[in-house]
């Protein structure tokens, strides 16, 4: 299994209800530290002149919502400040906090570097996350990329905006490859489970081979 999957969750179902006071916690030490001592969260009302980009992803209805604000140095395009607010579980909060540290460390990442940040990088820095908490760190890097686009939009550098195109897999149910990726990340790793979440291919069975192919691809990508 890849490094970014926490040891404790390998093979185990993992539930936030078991307790072993002696040593193990539900998450790694680093996750715990960032959860109880979150870095760089937006603790005041965001002021217009202090940031020049904003990104948002998720909704409280789906269980996670993230908002991030950045101040980018226009000359170097380095991220000088990064604030966030997160509605979500322990790993979502810790992941955002860690992201804020990573993108501002050593004078800040350039936007180009930041765009390449992968959820796996965040998870690895956190000392791993339980497999079923994957989507938490995926959300952070989505919010980050949303903010990067917002920076270029505000700076009128439209050529640098990267719209993440999604491929329509099921034109009837309007399900994209993205939706399937999300479903896999949320733990739906069988065709049946993905269909429950996305309704893909229900009433449109000819798309099913492509769906199965994608499930296999994302399963290997994220769960090794």
């Amino acid at each position: 299994m890849p490094k970014y999957i926490a040891k404790s969750s390998r093979g185990a179902k993992g539930d936030v209800a078991s307790h072993d006071k002696k040593q193990s916690w539900f998450y790694s030490k680093t996750v715990k530290n960032h959860f109880f001592h979150p870095r760089n969260f937006m603790d005041h009302d965001p002021k217009k002149n202090e940031h020049n980009a904003m990104g948002k992803v998720g909704s409280p209805a789906c269980g996670d919502e993230l908002k991030v604000w950045m101040r980018v140095d226009p000359k170097t395009e380095k991220i000088k400040k990064f604030w966030w607010r997160t509605f979500g579980c322990g790993s979502a909060i810790a992941s955002t906090s860690m992201t804020s540290v990573m993108v501002t460390a050593k004078g800040g990442m350039t936007l180009e570097q930041a765009r390449k940040l992968k959820p796996q990088d965040i998870m690895e820095r956190l000392g791993g996350l339980p497999a079923r908490k994957f989507h938490c760190s995926v959300l952070c890097d989505k919010a980050l990329r949303d903010a990067i686009n917002d920076y270029y939009r505000r700076a009128n550098q439209f050529d640098k905006i990267v719209i993440e195109g999604a491929r329509l897999i099921d034109p009837i149910a309007k399900v994209t490859d993205h939706d399937i990726e999300e479903a896999v990340l949320e733990g739906a790793i069988t065709l049946e489970a993905v269909q429950t979440k996305t309704k893909v291919g229900i009433g449109n069975p000819e798309v099913l081979p492509a769906v199965e192919e994608l499930i296999k691809f994302y399963k290997e990508k994220y769960f090794g």
Binding site: D15, A17, F26, P60, A61, G63, F87, G90, R132
Partner: protein, 397 residues
Amino acid sequence: MKQIYLDHAAATPLDPQVFKAMLPYLKKEYGNPSSFHTPGKGAQDAIETSRQKIAAIIGARPDEIIFTSGGTESINLAILGYARANRQRGNHIITTKIEHHAVLETIKHLEKKEEFTATYLSPDKYGLITPEQVKKAMRPETILVSIIMANNEIGAIEPIAAIGNFIQKTRDQKETPVFHTDACQAAGVLDLNVNKLHVDILSINGSKIYGPKGVGALYLKRGLKLQPLQFGGAQERGLRPGTENVVGIIGLAKALEIAQDKKDKENTRLTILRDKLIQGVLKNISKTRLNGHPTERLPNNINISFMDIEGEALLLHLDSLGIYASTGSACASTSLDPSHVIMALGVPYEVAHGSLRFTLGRDTTQEDIDYILKVLPPIVEKLRQISPVRVSEKYFK
């Protein structure tokens, strides 16, 4: 660190008296109840004494009690067993949207694989089902009604006796529909007399009533047919073959006896603590909502949603202070789905994600409640500070 365990709906500690009753059967009394010799007879007698005890408590006859491996097995045996054995009488089942997964998944399996159909009744906004709803859902081919007696998540106590009474009248001289209730959460708290409740099948288990885990019982009214789930022995009249869990059965009977003895006094004590915690939270923390009914509620159940924050994060903070609770949030469930019970109340997803359940127990004290009321507001405050969500009061009430 002070430790306050408030997850008694998940598991209860073993009562010391239960432990004492079980002890000989873990060591000295190891005979197989099916064996034809003195140690075997000893074990068999112990099982039969336990059976009589449980039967007496619930107003049944000893031969109407079947021992199982727990609540899930009791429920599976009741639903699958009855449906399969009585398929010729009909293929429709009535249940609710707020059952435990053991009931829901079992009925879904019957729908999917064995050509049964089911009606899932929606509760009102407090989590209650009415006899009228059952009446409306009833069809000539309805063979089974299964309704939870007291809900494990939101503590709602269903009007089982009234529903049972209606079902009994409806079927007149016919056998069906029969009425099953999952009484796992209710067993230590409510009157289980099956005649007063008008139930035909009832499931209980040990681990929610200060008994051991891994043991349960099923009351099955005399004359009703079940198809067993497993084969290979004549134990439990062939309905549940396999060498009996002697020590577990003894523990279950003792635990039920103690719980039923204590219940009136304990219910009064817990109700006061429960209401103190509920009122304290609703009054002192803004944007909170009680899930379930204010009074038709298990005396130990508190389920409150804290808007704008997520339950797992709350649990982690409480855990760090030695307070052990539970949530209906998707993040804390292995399936990553929010609580189906809270969603069935017709509320927005956020209510489930931000829900927190405390279930009190015999060791819970006034001081524990005071402590929680002291530490909870700053945790909620802190999480709200780092949350981007600000729903309006109207949204979730």
